[in-house]
């Protein structure tokens, strides 16, 4: 930390400053925006998003900012709220292992709403997302691990502050007002992990995106909050973490980027399941054709208590059911958004093969081994590794294009190619160019 400046103020200054953003960081931000927007559009027909939209409009809104899912125009706070929730429906976003955060679904919708409101250049949107996400991730890394073990959802608590930074940058806040945007975002930090597996998790992400926009807008007109909102004696750090590392939050700010370590989740479910699903799919690739899997045994150190919950009621609980995710992966060879479509939960439950958890030692939660019992075959084993954790793909990567197209084609049809082109290579376009394209269809 430099001089007497606290972490809150230093992060705020970084948020509105002119620090050089490396190309690889901008590439990650571009990928996050593209991925986020594609899955927001994919929620176009989702009834929960439509209900949310209707509820918010009834409380007062104008029509200046787009909602990707419903096609309605709203005020920027509500637009960010709706888009943030819509993006979280598919649960197919980004993840940062050290911060335990999915930062894109909160920071991107906030930046996009203000970016459209101010008609900013797409390049400025990318910078705002890069800086906002970086601040959110740094706060998250500084508050973890106890932040999460106590029950806070860092994606929303820290994400809301990052959303305020991203929105504030696009509003051209000066350092003093950006510090107030951070303050108003930090004091509204909310969202708990107990919401996992329910619609509430989706809605609290939308809420975090909306409060980020609101915080920046209020700061822009002069509303004040605490200067030391993060590091203060009664601030975000002290109240939500046992050992907040404030110095680490600002160390090498602008020199090293946590955002570079952000990954895109390969499977559309809880990030905690990604490694074991990858192992299950490796086993599946070795199975003889027509093989019937009888049971799956997962060996690991202490499992989080909610992993033993097997009741699958809907798409939200399915994403947090290890049994459901493994069953889907072994059956379909994929755990993507299609495996969680609502029609899969209309009939009888899917309960084969059985999935059993075997704690093998005390210690931090972690997975070690997968044993798959197949009728007529020896037990197949697979070591669980973290090799799915790779930097988010460059916008030019082929896999990213197909991922985006799978989201938008069902909604936008023939316009999809043009939108994906724009998202992956925005050039000197402006944010409103995206919406003009989307509105042609929706």
């Amino acid at each position: 930390m430099s001089g007497a400046m606290g972490a809150s103020e230093e992060l705020a200054r970084f948020g509105c400053g002119e620090a050089l953003i490396p190309d690889d960081v901008r590439a990650v931000a571009t990928t996050l925006i593209a991925n986020y927007l594609a899955w927001t559009i994919s929620a176009a027909a989702n009834p929960e998003v439509a209900r949310l939209s209707a509820a918010l409009v009834s409380l007062g809104s104008d029509g200046s900012v787009s909602t990707a899912a419903t096609g309605e125009m709203m005020g920027p706070i509500w637009a960010a709220t709706v888009n943030g929730a819509a993006a979280a429906i598919a649960d197919y976003g980004d993840f940062h292992p050290d911060a335990a955060m999915e930062v894109g679904a909160v920071v991107v919708p906030a930046a996009l709403a203000v970016g459209e409101m101010t008609d900013c250049a797409y390049a400025d949107l990318v910078d705002a997302v890069a800086v906002g996400a970086e601040v959110a991730l740094r706060i998250g890394m500084g508050l973890q691990p106890s932040h999460g073990t106590r029950g806070w959802d860092a994606s929303t608590t820290c994400g809301g502050v990052g959303a305020a930074i991203a929105a504030g940058r696009l509003l051209r806040l000066d350092p003093e007002r950006m510090t107030m945007a951070v303050a108003l975002g930090a004091t509204q930090a909310s969202g708990v992990l107990a919401s996992r597996g329910t619609l509430g998790r989706v809605l609290q992400r939308g809420h975090a995106a909306g409060l980020g926009v609101e915080s920046a807008l209020l700061a822009s007109v002069g509303l004040t909050g605490a200067t030391a909102s993060i590091e203060g004696r009664r601030g975000l750090g002290a109240l939500t973490s046992r050992e907040p590392a404030f110095a680490a939050m600002v160390a090498d700010l602008g020199q090293t980027w946590g955002l570079s370590d952000t990954v895109l989740k390969p499977y559309a479910c809880s990030w905690e399941f990604q490694s074991v699903i990858a192992a299950a799919l490796r086993v599946r690739s070795r199975l003889p054709e027509g093989a019937v899997v009888e049971a799956v045994d997962v060996l690991g150190t202490a499992f989080p208590p909610d992993w033993t919950q097997s009741e699958v009621l809907d798409e939200f609980s399915a994403r947090f059911s290890l049994a459901y995710c493994l069953q889907s992966g072994l059956r379909d060879g994929a755990v993507g958004p299609q495996q969680f479509s609502a029609d899969r939960f209309a009939g009888a439950g899917n309960d084969n093969p059985s999935v059993r958890l075997h704690p093998i030692a005390d210690g931090e939660a972690g997975l070690e081994m997968l044993k798959v019992q197949v009728v007529g075959c020896p037990v197949m084993t697979e070591v669980v590794t973290d090799d799915w954790i790779r930097p988010a793909p460059d916008p030019a990567a082929a896999g990213l294009r197909s991922r985006l197209e799978s989201a938008v084609v069902p909604v936008l049809g023939p316009l999809s190619g043009a939108l994906v082109d724009l998202l992956l290579d925005p050039g000197d376009r402006r944010v409103r160019d995206i919406w003009r394209l989307i509105h042609q269809q929706t």
């Binding site: 409380l59 106590r150 108003l184 969202g191 002069g222 909050g225």
Partner: protein, 457 residues
Amino acid sequence: MSDVLGADSVGVLARLADDLGRVRRLDLPESVEHEALRALLNIVGPAVASSSATSVEQVLTLQQGLGRAVIVPGRSQRYGLYLAAIGTGMAAHLDDFDDTHLESGNMHVGSVALAATLGIADVHGVSGRQFLIAFALTCETLIRLGLALAPSHHGEGWQPSSTCGPIAAAAGVGLLLGLDTAQMTSALALGSTRMLGQREALGTAAKSFHAGKAAANGLVSATMAARGLSASASVFEGAQGVGAVLSQGVQPTPLLEGFGREWHLLSNTYKAYPCGVVAHPGIDIALFLSPSVGDLSRVTAITYECHPLVKELMDRPEPSSGLEARFSAQHVVSAALARGELTLAELSDEMVQSPPVQQLRSLVRLDPNGGFDREEAALTVHMDDGHRLYHRLRGPRGSVTRPLTDEELKQKTARLAEPILRRGGEEIAAAVFGLPQAASVGALLVALTPKPLTASR
């Protein structure tokens, strides 16, 4: 975390929703109805008085289309429900002249309850009695939530009115929307995940924003629930639930036991002075000693013996603004001693910069005494001739032991609201106390809207 909270097969929020549904069908006991009316009368004064404060104006500039336009007490213009809730709650709490429920963690219930329920009562055309029941149950739920989280919640640094506010506000709005038990459970769950309010914000505009935003978050939660949206019904309990993240000792008994039979609202108190309540005993003493002090330049030291919370919450020897001065024990005692009263004028930015008050403030030394209770203080004024003025007091004006009378509440409201509304205090009080018989809240809304200026001939 209490075992009870995690083990019950019926969740805490579902039980609360069931209780709310049961109690709303009953008439409020006479004493509770009267206290609810007192709480309402007390809060409309501060709400009106600060309705055009700078920070409230700043929030209301976010106006983005009206939707269902409703009033913000003290203002002529109407606003969308969401923004009106923020503006109303913020104004009501801004001067710290509202109310306090001590046991639940210095809870200020009136601002959140008024902001949550007034607009929706207007939109849905409910009767005065229905509005009053929703207002009373919002207050009661808020107090009980605070008791369930106490004492560690407030002590750690949270502002209970706004952390618990969204849940209680969701309850009040849900009652006015006629939510069934399942919908109400969803509303409470959605409100639970929209908490806010860190005490770091004391002395800034964000503190009052907390109150308004808590009400607005509850409004959003209940509105979403009415549209069929939900959240985990068990989000409040469990090892990683809302209760656990907000308190080290959360327990459901104070929240649920005797709901509808025993009313904590009856021990709510109404502030006699516009500042942090823990300094009110010191202010009372300063006002008592003021006539005896005479020449302020002869004061050499002021020893303020107080409950430890005064130092914890209000040790600000050099406040820079009126907002900060509301949480400066040094300022409020000095201003009361110097001026012989402690009104909004003594907490203005100008008064904070006044040289005589600054000089007196610099002489105040806080002396926390663990043996004092919260309503106790002693003040010693040391004069330059060695003479000392001393007074000790337990139970200041506006406390549980010395509550403001109905007449004092009417005077407080009139003083605060008359200049802005251009209406007599009697009209405002009549609109409030007439609610149990009123077919709608219309008369109250009129009474809280400024009377148009008539052109002089």
